[in-house]
C-alpha cells in the first residue's frame, strides 16, 4: 500500500539547530494490516507517520502510494490524496472547541462541497457506530476523554479513507479506554482498513490484532522490517 | 433538519438589501411630494431672490455663506472650534478662498 524508500528528514537544515529526525528509512506497509511504530519519544515515529500520511515531505527519498510516486506532487494534489486516502487520529484528539460534536465530525468533508444533508447523515451514522448519537449536538468541551477519542475517530472516518493513521492514540486514556480503543481498531481492521499507529503503549503494540511492530530509535528502524 | 446557519446569514443579507430596495421604492412613491417640495422651494427662491439655504441661524456667515464678507470667522478654518459650532461644520465658500 505505502512504500517509503531511503527517506531522510532534516529539520532546520543549514542552521545551527539542524536536526536529523529520520535517516535512510525504508519501509513497506501492506494493505489491510495493522502496523505499529514503536519507540521512545524523539525516535522519529511521529515524523515517519507524518511522511506516511502525506502531511510532510521528506528531505530526500521517495514515497509510493499504491504504485504511484507522490513525493513530487504539488500541494493541492497532496491535500486531495490526504483527504481521500487518510484519516487521522491525533494524540491530543485536536477537536475544535466551542462547536458541536457533529460539526467536528463533518469538518474534514466541508471543503469537498458535498450536500450538507448527506454529510450530516453520514456523520450521524458514524456517531451511532461509536455510541455517540446522543452527543451529536453537545459541545466538545462537555465530552469525557473516551467520548472525545471516539469523536476524533469518527472524524477520521468521515471521508471513508483507506488508511487510518493514529499518533499515540492512547496517551491520554486510561487502560480501560485504551483497550476499548483497540477494540475499535479491530473493528476497523475487519472493515479492511489499513491502520498505522505510532505508540509506545504495551496495550497497543502487544495487542493480538497487531500484524507487525516496527521499532524505531534515533531516526532509524531497528527491527521489524 | 433545522435551517443552516449560512442560509440564515444569506437571508439576513437579503433582508438588508431589500430594505434598500424598499427605501428606493418608497422614495419613488413620494415623487409627487418631492416635486411639490422642490417647486415650492424654487418658487420661494425666485420670488425673493434668495441666495442661501436656511440651515443655521446662529451666525450670519452661516445663514448666508455665499454672501459672507471677505473677513469672517471662516478664516480660522478648517479645524478651529469657533464660537458658533455651525462654522466648524462647513467649508468657507470657494469664492472667498480664491481671492
Amino acid at each position: 500500500m505505502i512504500q517509503v524508500m531511503d527517506v531522510r528528514k532534516v529539520f532546520n537544515a543549514g542552521r545551527p539547530n539542524e536536526f536529523v529526525a529520520m535517516n535512510k528509512v525504508s519501509l513497506s506497509i501492506p494493505r489491510h494490516d495493522v502496523t505499529v511504530l514503536k519507540g521512545p519519544s524523539g525516535s522519529g515515529k511521529t515524523t515517519l507517520l507524518g511522511i506516511l500520511g502525506c502531511m510532510a515531505r521528506p528531505t530526500s527519498g521517495r514515497i509510493m502510494l499504491a504504485e504511484r510516486e507522490i513525493t513530487s506532487l504539488p500541494e493541492r494534489f497532496l491535500t486531495e490524496i490526504r483527504r481521500t486516502t487518510f484519516g487521522f487520529v491525533f494524540q491530543q484528539f485536536n477537536l475544535i472547541k466551542g462547536i458541536t460534536v457533529i460539526e467536528n465530525v463533518i469538518l474534514p468533508a466541508y471543503p469537498t462541497g458535498e450536500n450538507p444533508a448527506i454529510l450530516k447523515k453520514r456523520a450521524m451514522e458514524l456517531l451511532s457506530l461509536f455510541n455517540l448519537s446522543g452527543k451529536a449536538d453537545s459541545k466538545i468541551e462537555w465530552l469525557s476523554g473516551g467520548e472525545a477519542q471516539r469523536t476524533s475517530i469518527a472524524r477520521a472516518l468521515m471521508n471513508d479513507p483507506e488508511v487510518i493513521i493514529a499518533d499515540e492514540p492512547t496517551a491520554n486514556l486510561d487502560s480501560r479506554l485504551s483497550k476499548e480503543f483497540m477494540e475499535i481498531v479491530s473493528g476497523l481492521k475487519e472493515q479492511e482498513k489499513t491502520i498505522i499507529i505510532a505508540s509506545h503503549d504495551p496495550i497497543v503494540y502487544d495487542s493480538p490484532i497487531v500484524d507487525r511492530v516496527v521499532e524505531m530509535r534515533d531516526g532509524k528502524i531497528i527491527s521489524g522490517i | 433538519m433545522s435551517a443552516r446557519k449560512s442560509d440564515i446569514f444569506i437571508l439576513f443579507i437579503a433582508l438588508n438589501l431589500s430594505a434598500f430596495l424598499f427605501f428606493f421604492l418608497d422614495a419613488l412613491s413620494m415623487q409627487a411630494d418631492t416635486q411639490k417640495k422642490l417647486s415650492e422651494e424654487r418658487a420661494m427662491i425666485e420670488k425673493l431672490g434668495l441666495t442661501d439655504l436656511c440651515l443655521f441661524t446662529d451666525a450670519r456667515y452661516m445663514r448666508h455663506p455665499s454672501m459672507a464678507d471677505l473677513n469672517t470667522p471662516f478664516q480660522d478654518h478648517p479645524t478651529s472650534i469657533e464660537h458658533f459650532p455651525s462654522g466648524t461644520l462647513a467649508e468657507p465658500p470657494r469664492h472667498l478662498r480664491l481671492r
Binding site: 510532510a56 472547541k97 469538518l107 | 446557519k5 415650492e40 442661501d52 441661524t57 478648517p78 466648524t88
Partner: protein, 377 residues
Amino acid sequence: MNRINKHRNILDFTLSSLLRRKRKNTALVLVYILVVFGLASVLFSTQALKREACSILQRSPEVVIQRLVAGRHELIPTSYIDKIKDVRGVQTVKRRLWGYYYDPTVGANYTLMVPDDPAVAEGTIVIGKGVARTLRAEKGDLLPFKANDGFFVSLEVGDIISSDSELVSSDLVLMNEGDFRQITGVPAGYFTDMVLSVRNVKELPTIAEKIRRLAPDTRPIVKDDILRTYETIFDWRGGILLVILAGAIMAFIIFAWDKASGLSSEERKEIGILKGIGWETSDVILMKFWEGTVISLSSFLLGCVFAYIHIFYASSALFEPVLKGWAVLYPKFRLIPYIDPLQLATLFFLTVIPYTVATIIPSWRAATVDPDSVMRL
C-alpha cells in the same frame, strides 16, 4: 453546484466558529455598525443636501452686487443702480432690502426681507415655519419688534409660509418696506444689495468685470459662486466631519491592529487542525475571507440601513444638537432621499475591504504551515 455548496459549507463552519465568541464578536459588530452609521449618516445627509441645494439654487439671482466699506458688507445707495443698469448685457436691476433681527425675548435670529412683488401690506408680516414654531405664533397674532429708534412696532402675522419650503424659508420674516426701514434703521435711498439679471449667461464674467471697474467698491457674486458654495460646503475637510472621519479611521486602525498583531495561539492551532484533517491552504483562507466578510458586510449593511432611516425618515435627529449649535431657531426639513452610488461604493471600500483583508493576511502565514505541525502541537 459543488462550488456553491463548498462555499456554503465553509460559511456554515465560519458562522459556528464566530458564534463561539458571541460576546466579543457582538461588541465588534456593534462598534463597527456605529462607525459605518456615523460615516454613512454624514455622507447621506450632505449628499442629499448638496443635491437639493444645487437643484433649487439654480433659481437664485444671476448676480448679486454687494458694496464693501472697511471690509464689511455696506448699504448700497440708489445712485449705484444708474451706474450699473447701463452696462451692456444687463437686463434688469432689482434692489433688495434684507437684514437680520435679533429677538431678545426668545434669543433667536430672524432674516427680515422685503418682497416687492407682491409686496406685503403695511402692518403685517409673513413668517417662516421656524419663526412660527419658535414664537408659537399663529395667523392673526401680533408680534412686537423693537425698532431702531427704541420704540416697539407690533405687526400682525398675515400668513405663515408653507413648511414645504422650510429649507429656504424657515427664519424669514417678510414685511413692508416702510416697516422694514423703521425696524432696521436702513435710511431711505439705501438698500442692502442689488440683484441683476443678464441677457446672456455666457457674458457674466465680462459683465462682472465691467461692474468692478465702474463701481470699484462693489463685489459681484455670480450664481456659480453661490452654487459652488453649496457644492463644497460640507467637504471631507470640514471640521466636525473631519473629526468623525478621523475617529472612524482610528477605530479601523485599532481593529486592523488587533487582527494583524497576530492570531491567538488557539486560532493558530485551529488552522493547524484544519490543515491536518485535509483542508487546503486555500480552504483555510476562504474560511478567513468569510469570517471577515460576515463581520464587515453585516456591519456595513446594517450601518447603512440605520443611517438611511436616521437621515431620511427621522430628519437627522441625532445630528440635531450638533447642527443646532447656539441657534434657537432650528429649521426642520425633510431631505429628499438621495444616495450617490459612488459615495456608497467608496464607503464600502473604506470599511468592508480593509477589515476583510486585515482578517485574511495574518492567517495566510498560519495557513501555509505544514499539515504535520498539528502533530507537534
